[in-house]
Symmetry: C2
Subunit: 188 residues, 2 copies
DNA sequence: TTCATTTTTTAACATTTGTAAAAAACTGCA
DNA sequence: TGCAGTTTTTTACAAATGTTAAAAAATGAA
């Protein structure tokens, strides 16, 4: 809960009143490893906050599955297309560990945005920060080789690499698992 | 102007009053080809709307320059990191044609967001839609080969390819110009 | 602990893409 | 029109990554 409050305020500082309006709507929920939080082709009706656990977002290709996002403690989880357009998402989101989340229903959140200008600006900032993070990843991929991206992950999120299997990380880096193995062999 | 109004309302429908508050702050401005709208390392203090023209956003690498976004008529232009965090942007943004833009100063826009809940939600939606577009591009790159991405561009934005030189398009697609030439030769 | 299953690594070979340099095509201006 | 500069294509070769399959290592349940 503490982590949640800190995160909310770090997105955009809120008065106590507004903060309360938001957090009373966020319900703790424990879910097991492998649970699917959002399924491609379906409309996800909730946003989650990860208090404890890991999630990954992936898309199904013809033959392969591509993982393109990991969420760790302190991250919000949403299926963008569902959250933003109310349309079926492209991606599925799966828990990789038994997790403790906070859930808020999408319609509840939208109502808060309509009624409270502070929360509307909070929601704006939340989207903007997600945009920023995605742009950073997008640009990093344009410039850096898979090897450099991997080494950066090693430095910035060593936990991630220890907790997530390499096949997922390889696809996140945009290479095959064989290539990631080669990269790891070179570094050693 | 017409195009601008339509775009604003397509992001998030506004009452006439709110719409007016926004558009009176947007000033038309004509700028020549090669004009730099935002420079990497600097804080950009304006958001632009492209009424007529083309822009590209790019980052400087050690040896190369990578173009990662094109803006056409109907697009908003911002240096994300400046707009979102008020920090120096990673990217430079350059006009590729003589252009007609509408400009709004960032502080003016921020003030509107604080005062008008409709505009705050409009700003939220604007960021969300940008996020959505970026995610689509991000995912497309994970699944599609440069050749497929190029052919999609040919279908969805043939104008873009006619108006922009291939070196920029190649780097946008994440390949060298030589590779893009090979792709084009194969298609013919 | 043991065994079956899953995950990771290694190997050999095919394919794709990059690099550098030259040729060809295009553009804009005098 | 003609010419200089820019952009695009082509070529030959090098380097990186993918594919397939098998071996090795790690994991989890009985």
């Amino acid at each position: 809960m503490d982590q949640l409050l800190k995160k909310i305020n770090s997105v955009y500082p809120l008065t106590n009143d507004s903060l309360n309006q938001l957090i009373v709507k966020m319900k703790p929920i424990e879910l097991p490893k492998h649970k699917i939080l959002a399924e491609a082709g379906q409309v996800g009706r909730s946003v989650y906050f990860i208090e404890k656990g890991i999630a990954r977002a992936y898309c199904e290709g013809r033959e392969n599955q591509v993982t393109f996002w990991f969420g760790l403690e302190g991250d919000f989880v949403f299926s963008y297309n569902s959250y933003i357009n109310g349309r079926p998402g492209y991606e599925s989101i799966e828990l990789l560990e038994n997790s403790l989340l906070y859930e808020i229903k999408d319609d509840v959140l939208q109502t808060l945005f309509q009624e409270n200008i502070e929360l509307a600006n909070w929601g704006r900032k939340l989207a903007e920060l997600e945009l920023m993070k995605l742009e950073e990843r997008y640009i990093a991929r344009l410039f850096k080789s898979a090897s450099e991206c991997y080494q950066e992950l090693l430095n910035t999120s060593p936990l991630l690499i220890r907790r997530i299997q390499l096949g997922y990380i390889a696809s996140y880096l945009g290479v095959t698992q064989v290539t990631l193995s080669r990269i790891r062999a070179e570094i050693r």
